[in-house]
């Protein structure tokens, strides 16, 4: 008995067909909700299915239909709430449409990303979500020759090589700069994320630098740090040596680090030092002082990627780009726009 179980074979469509006294084609029709099956026959087939505990074999189905009903996502990490939330939404939206999600993590390594893209293609995903617009030539070539439908999220560029569903990182940072300058801050420093192979981080720096230049200013200090509270906190020390009156952070995780470093250094926020983040993680609003940051539509990006990818797949079209909005949320780590330029 336990031995019998060991070699137990899953019921197959053929078994169901025999049990119901029909052809496998009919079973397939019932499974796929085809309307051209008599109710009586349909009932018989459904009875056989549940009697046998039959479970369809998706690989076989994929092989026959050349469709996997699966989406893929290659992301830098799940250890940042902003990506976790995006993937969460992507999965929910995909599932609502009957698609599965296979994910892999690149750890911000573009060469690894290319390998992962290839594996996604092998797995036969029908659509793929990537993050950002920085990708290796190898990855691009793979995507191009296989014509795999894909969307690059978390970024938006006029001239992007692939469809983008995201936002303009540079523009968002420009808004931050305007706010800071309007508040009277002049000695502005930036603690950025690693810009190598990361167009989002790079755009944020460039966005800040260019807009500052427009105000006739430049960064009094610019340092890059990994996305970790601890490392950002450590990097804040040398950064603060330039005696900035405001620090623009590459994202909220970095802002947390600077926040704690400033507190430790006995600096008053926002009077001695202003701090801005990016992402609007839940906790930015709860810390005191609450962090001024930029709201990023992470869940919406995930949801939209799923929907647009699936629409494109099912209508046999190409996904299109979508530019989403960010919003500056002014809280307590920057002064309210009172100390405007030119006040006595």
């Amino acid at each position: 008995m336990s031995d019998g179980k060991r070699f137990l074979k899953q019921a197959t469509q053929t078994d169901v067909a025999q049990a119901a006294g029909v052809s496998t084609a009919t079973v397939s029709r019932v499974l796929n909700g085809s309307l051209l099956v008599r109710d009586e026959v349909r009932a018989r087939v459904e009875a056989a299915i549940s009697a046998l505990g039959y479970i369809p074999h998706e690989s076989a189905r994929s092989l026959a239909t050349r469709r996997s009903r699966a989406l893929g996502a290659v992301i830098p990490t799940l250890n940042n709430a902003i990506f976790a939330s995006g993937v969460n939404a992507l999965e929910q939206a995909a599932r609502e449409r009957g698609y599965s999600l296979v994910i892999s993590i690149s750890n911000y390594d573009l060469d690894l990303e290319a390998v992962l893209v290839r594996q996604m293609i092998e797995r036969g995903v029908d659509g793929l979500m990537l993050v950002g617009n920085d990708h290796t030539a190898a990855a691009r070539a793979l995507l191009a020759t296989t014509r795999l439908r894909h969307i690059c999220a978390w970024a938006w560029a006029e001239d992007a090589a692939s469809p983008n569903i995201g936002f303009d990182n540079a523009a968002a940072m420009a808004e931050v700069v305007d706010h800071l300058v309007a508040d009277g801050y002049r000695r502005i420093a930036m603690l950025a994320g690693p810009t190598a192979g990361n167009d989002r981080a790079r755009d944020r720096v460039q966005g800040a630098v260019k807009r500052l230049a427009g105000h006739g200013l430049s960064l009094v200090n610019l340092i890059e740090t990994p996305y970790s509270i601890r490392e950002a906190r450590a990097a804040a020390i040398p950064l603060l040596a330039a005696r900035p009156d405001a620090v623009i952070c590459g994202n909220d995780v970095i802002a947390f680090g600077v926040h704690f470093a400033a507190r430790e250094a006995g600096l008053a926020i926002p009077d001695d030092i202003a701090i801005t983040g990016f992402d609007d993680l839940t906790l930015t609003a709860e810390l005191s002082p609450a962090i001024t940051t930029v709201t990023v539509p992470a869940a919406e990006m995930g949801r939209l990627c799923a929907q647009h990818l699936i629409d494109a797949i099912e209508t046999d079209t190409d996904p299109v780009s979508l530019r989403l909005d960010t919003r500056l949320v002014i809280r307590q780590t920057t002064r309210a726009a009172s100390g405007a330029i030119g006040l006595p």
Copy 2:
């Protein structure tokens, strides 16, 4: 030309075989690293593969081998860093062994979980990670009849129906209680997570209640709240009405809420009120006062699940249970163990 591309067909093993002047069997052997292929032939095949840009078709492979080289994970949410981190580690470890990861989110809904388990089976994953020991009869039946290898993580029970790789939630909470009592706290309340369909949350409550009873005490108040800072913060108000001198929180997210609520109420932590969390999220150490909490081996669980699942798959054995340790991390939201029992 653009029209030609539209109907472009992926190179198949047959194409490679023809190009290399060998049989598909030989191509297959090369692909799978079989040793019984002459070097000269192998080279010819490899040349053809890269010349044609051939990419193997995993569905076809899975159909033929009855193996998918994919793992599945069904988790409650990705919007909690502790699960995100576990999945992140699971993916990394799986990938190292050549396995893909397909994930789905149950939103703490056990009926949905059962549906997702079924989809995982359809997809043909070779192994599955679930969270906790609470599952519907339907899910259990599916797992049992298909004999799908699986591990239930985040929990550990002597009599678990499935292999567990996790920790004893009740024991961890008992340790929290001991610490609190040794510190002199007596009016202890608990803000728990939703216990319905969640054995981890239930075990944490039971672990606290039983250990308190051992000390001749009982909770002065017990309320459940969703795992959200905002809702926990709101729930803390009625909870504090019982005038507890310590609040045990179901996890760190809830602890954040209580932390902010206490601060808002003007209570001094830990003198007016002690707070304990669970999970040891990064920020618990950085807030001030830093939160006393329980370290949970999330990444390790993910990694071990992948390894043990894959070992079991490849050696054709069943995965076994592993009990991991948690550790109480005493920080600043509880008094140091000075006010021990019986002091004047």
